[in-house]
């Protein structure tokens, strides 16, 4: 039960992107297609979980003054491993994502979790916290990507789903479209939250 609450905290009330405004770069950059967004979310998730559990397990051994450097090395290790795996298993996706896979290193979602949670909790708690945050991040990424791919191409995961009369609106494929969809979604989320808060 306690673990479920930790998981829930990261998923909705502490959603990394919409509530804490972390990890915005990748949220905007890899949401052109649902497929790319999915792989990105999986990789960020693996990195977050791996580094959270590592830091939580090593929390008594990491010297306070060098903790940021230690976090960085743990994150880089995870990202290099994930990057090599992706290159070997899904070369096309790796090519489409380009440098953004490596840029998970500077994704503040990962670092934020280590500093805010993992360093002061037990590994199992850190695991559920990281899982929740990763799911929250994935939910945002997938919803933005679905909206952008549907409006911009009329497709979802490469499948044509839009009705025939729909003319794709190319602006959603371009960078400004990413900003617009993000702002609109943020507005919707905050509006829903205010309704929920008023009712409860």
């Amino acid at each position: 039960m306690k673990y479920l609450r930790i998981l829930w905290e990261g998923l909705i009330p502490n959603n990394p992107v919409f509530i804490l405004a972390l990890g915005l770069c990748s949220t905007l950059a890899v949401t052109l297609k649902v497929e790319n967004a999915f792989f990105m979310a999986v990789m960020v998730g693996i990195t977050t979980i791996f580094s959270s559990v590592c830091v939580a397990a090593l929390r008594y051994y990491i010297p306070f003054r060098f903790r940021l450097l230690s976090y960085m090395l743990i994150i880089v290790t995870a990202v290099i491993a994930v990057e090599q795996l992706l290159k070997a298993l899904f070369p096309e996706v790796a090519r489409a994502l380009g440098p953004y896979v490596g840029l998970i290193v500077t994704n503040c979602v990962v670092m934020g979790r280590l500093e805010a949670f993992a360093v002061s909790h037990r590994p199992l708690e850190a695991f559920f916290d990281a899982l929740g945050v990763a799911l929250g991040y994935a939910a945002v990424l997938l919803s933005i990507a679905s909206i952008r791919e549907f409006l911009g191409n009329g497709t979802l995961w490469g499948l044509h789903v839009a009705p025939d009369f729909y003319i794709p609106c190319r602006v959603f494929n371009s960078p400004p479209g990413a900003f617009i969809v993000f702002a609109a979604l943020l507005f919707a989320v905050n509006w829903l939250r205010s309704i929920v808060r008023r009712d409860s």
Partner: protein, 200 residues
Amino acid sequence: MENAIQIPLLTLLFSAAISENVALYYFLGICPLISISADLKASFNMGLTVSLVMLITTAANWAIYHLLLQPMELEYLQLLFFVLIIAATVQLLELFLDRFFPSIYEVFGIFLPLITVNCAILGVSMFAVLREYSLIQSLVFAAGSGMGWCLVICIIASVRRRINIDAVPVHLGKTGITMLIAAVIALAFSGVSELMSGGF
């Protein structure tokens, strides 16, 4: 962008600064763009710091990649080396400025630690390696990217100053309205790229 050797340096500079701006086209360095752009003076100083560090680290990373990692076939370690080099450069620059130019340190000092995890800096280094730029091209690319990033954060800060005295939709919040400003500026910048493709 396929054949890096043939790009004229001026085109490279302007496309890095404006039409393929790091912040608005590649979505790098969005987190500080949102959090620091509330104040124009701080934004400008942050922009200058980022440009300076970007120039130094891109040159250093280019040298490390082409002189050390490539001959030894250790390309997969590039992330680790890049992150360490950026951290070391920032640290050294901090010490150097503090010791010899205290007046500059007062302006830049507080921004330097933030830059270690700025994805724009790591991203530019990685793009330079990925596109196989020569040393000169990398430097021009880094200079253009730094200028472009500085330009964008200053524009956003100036617009936000106007918005501070107006009422924005409550649910949009600071993050949302900054995203919308960025969307409009991104549209304007992509318009410039149309002009440039006609001119060059």
